[in-house]
């Protein structure tokens, strides 16, 4: 209903290490970045030449006008001088055009490529992270790293970084020009600058904090929305729409209030800075005017000063906003790098051992394991699955059955003891190779957005259409797939109701069969299949198990009875082992479990 979202509007102190690592992504494009910076300097120089050219025009016009008024006629060269200034003006403009193009081009190229790399690397790393990581992190948080956080960094790399270079350059240029024009007037104007700077920073820090709050509240809005969408079927089933809407309105309103607080500050910001800027202009006009009266300053200088002053706050504000963008980007980078620094699951061995073309013998030797520290769920499990044999694991929920599967697939590593495949410790086998040797069918039959054929082909990506269809036929899925609107090319979705649960399971079987693994690991999910489909599935299963070593978490009587070895688990231990008949005769756990679990069918047979 209403989870409190993790705020994404954090700020982080500037940390050189993080910054350098981030900039490291730009390193391969340093030539482009350098060219972009160079072009930018050119743009700024051309831009700041404007007021200077105006000064020259005024300086040219003023005496000429005086001469005309005095009746001396237009001094020679006036018109030529004006044309020269105009020509220079166009020249600077052309330079600025070309340089702007170059700057945009090089910077976007560098920034976009860097961000592409970062995103790709992060995603690839996610593919290697352990299940422990995903156990800990809600999906939404992981998503947010790759989308929101990377976008924040993208903004900095492609825009802010260059803007700040430009702002600093223009400030330096303006100050230099002012000092060159008239030192006294420049110093007088600079008296107001610190006040302006202080005001800008005072406000931006506060505005920033207000926006952090905005981001926190918006994260709640999104978290609520996300869950409302995921749970919409339940909501409609229970007609909770209006209650949910009320709650959402509350969260939405918190966001509104936070936004208004931020906007209030923001609305104060500009006018305050403007007024201080006007003060600086007033100082220039007043003091500069006096200097003109005393013939210590030309008219052109005064005009240029006023123009330069006008150009002062832009870069100032950009610097302030850069400061805050930088903090946001640093916070985002810290989080992104945090994920990237997560150690990948059970590292691949330094000296990997090859798997001999799999016969498929599995040994568990005194395996101890737990998901959380201090909570051991397997207390020393040992068993052997001979090549080509089926081992069925039975036992109540929480006995540790799924943990065996998780360990064999090396989704987790055992605390102690060891697991061998064909005599090789699985930690010494490269993970890819290990999983390629295994066919894993999980209880939840996840389908990807894509066609049915693509979903089956997931088992072996280079399989041909014929192979895909053959696999589907072998598990008895071909018939219903052909009845779909577009057969194998029908697009299915994550949660669509196009396929029933049983059909999804058959698709998952086809997937595993296509893989043709030496060892099959199966978490049987018979539950969701009706009795008639049961026949189909049993046949499919028989086909799947044929000639392979199999480790099956069994729920099906037929599977258990057909198994070469049954492991009865309870409380993280194997309490009994043997074949069906032996175990029944022994009259222990298994016999009890068997009677309880299958008594319906037995009772039915009797009645």
């Amino acid at each position: 209903m209403h989870p409190r979202g993790q705020g994404s509007g954090e700020r982080a102190p500037f940390r050189l290490a993080t910054f350098r690592r981030l900039i490291g992504y730009l390193a391969p494009y340093r030539r482009d970045f350098a060219l972009a910076s160079l072009s930018l300097l050119l743009v700024q120089a051309a831009l700041q030449a404007g007021p200077y050219l105006v000064k020259r025009a005024v300086d040219l016009v003023t005496p000429a006008r005086a001469a005309v008024q005095a009746g001396a006629g237009v001094p020679p060269g006036t018109l030529a001088g004006l044309f020269e200034i105009a020509a220079l003006y166009v020249l600077t403009s052309l330079v600025s055009w070309g340089a702007t193009y170059a700057q945009t081009y090089f910077m976007s190229w560098a920034g976009q490529n860097a961000i592409y790399e970062l995103r790709a690397e992060l995603y690839a790393h996610l593919q290697r992270l352990s299940f422990r990581f995903f156990d800990r992190q809600p999906a939404g948080v992981v998503m947010s790293r790759v989308t929101n956080d990377v976008n924040t960094i993208e903004e900095m790399l492609t825009q802010s970084l260059l803007t700040i270079v430009g702002s600093v350059a223009s400030l330096v240029l303006i100050v230099t020009m002012m000092l060159l024009l008239n030192v006294r007037l420049a110093l007088a104007a600079f008296v107001v600058m610190p006040i302006l700077g202080a005001a800008v920073f005072f406000f931006s820090v506060r505005v920033r904090r207000a926006y952090d709050e905005v981001r926190n509240t918006i994260a709640n809005v999104y978290a609520n929305l996300q869950e409302s969408i995921s749970g919409v079927r339940v909501t409609q089933s229970f007609t909770r729409e209006s209650v949910n809407l009320d709650r959402f309105t509350g969260i939405n309103d918190e966001n509104f209030q936070a936004n208004m607080r931020a906007e209030r500050l923001n609305a104060l910001f500009m006018p305050t800075v403007d007024a201080i800027g006007a003060l600086a202009t007033a100082v220039i006009v007043w003091y500069g005017g006096r200097l003109v009266i005393g013939h210590d300053l030309g008219y052109g200088d005064l005009v240029a000063f006023v123009m330069y002053m006008d150009r002062f706050y832009g870069p100032m504000r950009q610097m302030a906003s850069f400061y805050t963008q930088m903090q946001a980007a640093m916070a985002a980078a810290d989080k992104v790098f945090g994920v990237m620094d997560e150690a990948p699951e059970g590292r691949d061995p330094v000296r990997p051992r090859r798997l001999s073309a799999g016969r498929g013998r599995i040994d568990f030797e005194d395996v101890r394991f737990g998901y959380r520290e201090g909570e051991e769920v397997l207390h020393g499990v040992s068993f052997t699955a001979e090549p080509g044999r089926t081992v069925a694991i039975v036992g109540p929920t929480g006995a540790g059955k799924s943990s065996l599967v998780n360990l064999l697939a090396r989704f987790y590593d055992p605390w102690s003891g060891c697991i061998r495949l064909d005599g090789v410790d699985i930690r010494e086998i490269p993970q890819r190779e290990l999983r390629r040797a295994l066919g894993i069918v999980l209880q939840d039959n996840f389908l990807f957005s894509g066609t049915v054929a693509e979903n089956i082909r997931y088992g072996r990506l280079d399989a041909t259409d014929e192979e895909v269809e053959a696999a589907a036929r072998a598990v008895g899925a071909d018939a219903f797939i052909r009845r779909l609107p577009e057969g194998y090319a029908t697009v299915v979705h994550e949660r669509g109701s196009l396929l029933s649960t049983g059909q999804r399971q058959l698709v998952a079987f086809a997937r595993a069969l296509l893989r043709d693994p030496a060892v099959l690991v199966l978490d049987e999910a018979t539950s969701n299949v009706d009795a008639a489909t049961e026949v189909l599935i049993q046949r499919a299963l028989a086909r799947l198990l044929e000639g392979r070593t199999a480790l099956v978490i069994a729920h099906r009587l037929s599977t258990v009875r057909g198994a070469d070895l049954i492991l009865v688990m309870d409380g993280g231990r194997v309490v009994e082992r043997g074949r069906h008949e032996e175990l029944l005769l022994a009259g222990g756990h298994y016999a009890e479990l068997y009677r309880a679990q299958f008594k319906d069918a037995v009772a039915k047979a009797g009645g």
């Binding site: 105009a86 403009s93 409302s228 999983r435 969701n528 047979a605």
Partner: protein, 579 residues
Amino acid sequence: MKTLFRVLRYARPYRSSLAIGLLGLVVGTAMDMAVPVITRYVIDFVLLAGHHAWLGWLAAAIVATASFKGVFWFFQRYAMAFMAQKVIFDVRGDLYRHLQELSFRFYDRAQTGQIMSRVSQDVELLRRFLSFGVIQLLGQVLSFAVVLVLLFTIDPVLTAVVLPVVPLVALAVWQFNRRVRPKYQEIQQKQAEITAVLQENVTGVRVVRSFAAEDHEVEKFRRVNWAYLEKNLEAMRLRATWFPLMSLSADLGTMLVLAIGGWRTVTGTISLGMLVQFLQYLAMLFTPLRMLGWLVNMGSRAIAAGNRVFELLDTRREVAERPGALRLGRLQGAVRLERVRFRYQPGAPWALDGVDLAVEPGETIALLGATGSGKSTILQLIPRFYDVDEGCVRVDGHDVRDVRLADLRRQIGIVPQETFLFSTTIAENIAYGRPGASREEIVRAAKAAQIHDFIASLPKGYETVVGERGLGLSGGQKQRIAIARALLLDPAILLLDEATSSVDTETEALIREALRRLLLGRTAFVVAHRLSTVRLADRIVVLDEGRIVQEGTHDELVRVPGLYRDIVRLQLAEAREAV
């Protein structure tokens, strides 16, 4: 355009804010125009004409206009922000309401990532545009017009000379807009695709790992990531070409004024102060034109975003309540399906192909049949999650399309195969259908559902948070919470999609008992997978390929050859062998 008007319709209730914003804008613009006038008087009147005493007053006037403008600016900005935030508040509320009401058919096809991207990123783009885009747009147009008039009053000839530059700048802006706009739409689309691929990868992580398909997944991501990069670079190239062109054409104007205006000053047609004033105004004339490029760009992104938002809002609710729909009192629980035909998509095979079924109040019906035979579909049609294509579904004699949806669904309890838990406390999850339920009622329901002891054993009991951010529960525990949910609702009709066999024996016994209590005294439809559940039913309906092929009690059906007997024999044979 249509999108824009639609956004503006949302702004209607806040037109007083809009008015304050406009007033602030007009006054602020006027104050902006005042400063060059002051400069002109400083030069012509104070410095050139020698009225030195006025210098201090004019300097003070600069500060005064800025302060005056500041006050109005504050109100303008605040009022506009208020309007924008309110509009977004409303849009988001509408989206939420709509998403809650969209029918199942929509969600069959929708991807959460895609929807979320519209509700978050697109709405945010709209907000930004409303908050400062709109007022800036108006402000820039206003100041452009005012400046143009002022330029004419200073020197009509000089104005006439620079005027041809204006269409040039406008052309650059227009070209920029025309080319860049579709690109931004594509960028947004690519961003959404990135999110969608990622979402699936994260949710399906176990499958990805099991099949060692990481490389395949990385390649899938590389493709969307690369497409995003390419679209960005394409947009960048357009921006780099067309954006500086606007400045270039504007600078041509300044050049003309420097040369020709300078000459006219020398000859005395205008004064030096007027020349400086003219130059300052000229900058103000082109700022709007340049800003327009940025604003138009922002506006087009906002319109693209708006289109996507409204497209979502306009998605028809397939299952909609008829105007003047019937109010329903407490249902007896009689359910009739009359010649019902239904399919999930046009062109797909019929999921139900002419089903007739009449159920008396209090009766329990077991639905049996192969996968895809239409059992679950029947459960979806009774609460009207989908509308039938032909025939009708009646509850207590009323066509479900004629009654109020809330009245209908409130009296139907549903226990689905997979239980969705919300990220909140167990108590709230149980009380999901009746948020006002007291703690005693919740506990009573939990006890009846055989889940109370487990909940009580948790350190925080009923206040334990479950769901994505909380404690993970096993399938059996979730299912009993779903049963408690349904029990608390005390529905007249119960729909149960059985998923019992994934749990161990002990749990199964608990669930059996919970189910028995749940079925008591209600009309119930049970999609059954185990014969023991089938035996709880008064009547058994066997489906095959969307048709009812057999109907009757267990004793009747085992006697005749048919699908039911086959199923029973199958299970019996297995059991007998086992014994």
